[in-house]
Symmetry: C2
Subunit: 192 residues, 2 copies
């Protein structure tokens, strides 16, 4: 289960509350595993009862009290074991690609519309990634090693959307070409 190790990874450098974590894992920004707050609170309880993490309650005056969690020694050991575990190259699981692979059932115009809609969505996603200071916190990283690796991680995320966009644009132009050449439009003739 990746969410366990994702949380442990976050807690290695400093403790966080469930609320903090749920913001990190909310799917916006560059994080390669999303989760809802429900899942995070449940996983935190589980990690706690397995001795991987421990909590401490922080009393607050102007906001509700919070429980912050930190890694135990056992948690650290487990984290480092996981960081050196070989991950399999998993089959791609992608709703749009699944749908795309059956688009040939549809009419030419529907296919073109669906590809154009996807292109717009990808462009929106890329521009929101770029505009929302994607690379901004790299400047605060003092270690060059850490900065390079974090940069590579960010680069992967942007690049994958760019790859899909380029693939789609090229595919769309090829498809339009085929449609225009193979099915020349009938010239509308006046009835009389």
């Amino acid at each position: 289960m990746s969410i366990k190790h994702a949380i442990m990874s976050c807690l290695y450098k400093k403790p966080f509350s469930g609320y903090d974590l749920s913001k990190m894992f909310d799917g916006t920004g560059n994080f390669y595993w999303a989760a809802t707050h429900t899942q995070i609170y449940r996983t935190l309880s589980e990690l706690d009862s397995n001795g991987m993490i421990k909590s401490q309650t922080i009393e607050q005056e102007q906001s509700p009290n919070k429980k912050i969690y930190f890694l135990t020694k056992e948690g650290q050991t487990e984290l480092f074991k996981w960081l050196n575990t070989e991950m399999e190259v998993e089959p791609i699981r992608d709703k749009f690609q699944l749908q795309f692979s059956f688009q040939y059932y549809l009419s030419d115009q529907e296919i073109i519309n669906n590809m154009e809609t996807r292109i717009k969505k990808l462009e929106d996603r890329l521009s929101s990634l770029r505009s929302s200071g994607y690379y901004k916190d790299l400047k605060n990283v003092s270690s060059e090693k850490e900065r390079l690796l974090k940069y590579l991680s960010l680069e992967y995320g942007v690049g994958i959307y760019e790859y899909e966009l380029q693939w789609l644009k090229k595919g769309l132009s090829r498809f339009k070409e085929l449609v225009e050449n193979s099915a020349p439009k009938e010239v509308e003739k006046p009835i009389f």
Copy 2:
């Protein structure tokens, strides 16, 4: 739920048994949604009781009898509705990328090893994809439109592994450069 629509998509052109479908969805080959036979048999029952598909038992002599499923009118309507549904650009969920984004906790040598292992795995995956006649059934497709779209679909799958591989290779060489420059090896001197 994508698996429902994935199955319905498969059944549009011709009927299949649960066993046939479980081979299609086994994660090898180019299919953008994997599933186990357990999940397929359960989903088939569900689709059947919802009136989306219907089954027919085929008696066989040299192998066990099988139940083949075909799409009903309701199933077809639902399928075409889904084929025109806008899919969201979802956050990337990738175990390796998750792990990679915390590799900076490790030593230089561990990071290099892990990246090299991943490179090998990706190269294996790509060569097995290419050698196992990935594009072979495109030749039997008579419609140019269908052939182009199926080709694009295959191209996406290969391209995504190629993208990851290139990203990793470039990243690894940059990382090695940084390591060599910032931490010059101490020259081993003879004791006397």
